[in-house]
Subunit: 145 residues, 2 copies
């Protein structure tokens, strides 16, 4: 599972901010790319890396995740339990989430009509819109039976 686009985004950000390349940071990105599971927590990323005896500490995982967000490679999703999950910010693809309360599965959804109505709500109350967060909690098809 290669991620040329993500690597490039990261490199661009690193040079734009006068940071330095680092093996370990790249290893974190690769581990996330290679995982079949999306929407990983920092703890889960750490577990992926430990399995490979990468010698990468948790501080570095947290730092890398933050930097990857700053670089626009990942999006951070603040969960209700107080932890965060990270997903790839595949260019310009805003979406919301359906979340199964039984198995924790995340499904990415998008409804342009909802987006439009949200903007109307902002306008109606004199708000300058910045962003929004829509999470739909329920039981997925698999968990229903």
């Amino acid at each position: 599972m290669s991620t040329p686009k993500e690597h490039e985004k990261l490199s661009d950000y690193i040079s734009s901010q006068k940071l330095k390349q680092s093996h370990k940071r790249l290893t974190v990105l690769k581990a996330i790319s290679a995982s079949p599971k999306r929407h990983l927590t920092a703890h889960e990323v750490l577990a992926l890396l430990n399995k490979k005896r990468s010698g990468i500490g948790q501080a570095t995982v947290y730092r890398s995740l933050r930097l990857l967000c700053d670089a626009g490679v990942l999006n951070e999703l603040r969960c209700e339990d107080g932890s965060s999950r990270y997903e790839f910010a595949s260019a310009g693809s805003h979406h919301d989430h359906l979340i199964c309360t039984k198995c924790g599965r995340f499904v990415e959804v998008f409804d342009p009509e909802i987006e439009r109505l949200q903007d109307k709500l902002f306008a109606r109350h004199g708000f300058y819109p910045e962003r929004h967060k829509l999470e739909l909690y329920g039981v997925c098809r698999m968990c229903k039976r």
Copy 2:
């Protein structure tokens, strides 16, 4: 500022669960009712009580807030910074929130059309709907200028 309805809800819950009335728990509820500020954090409630030398500890504040939620008197809003805010669950009034990113003001909003479209999203993905969370972040009228 009286809250006969809230007191009653609380009493009903207390007897249904075979708990006991407590002076301090009522004081917490009254303090929240009396505050002009809505959407208070546990910390803010504690501050309200300390100002009055109530002798109520933080553990009791947290316990009371949780119980008031269980009793259906309050709703808990998990904020993105990891803390929670509490609002009155004035019977059957589901709503979402517009939140000012400058001053932190909360505005309660509701759009039946958005609700309907959310249900369609649940259905389209085979989810049994339980609840949702919609938060619109922007800059309010006051903070814009």
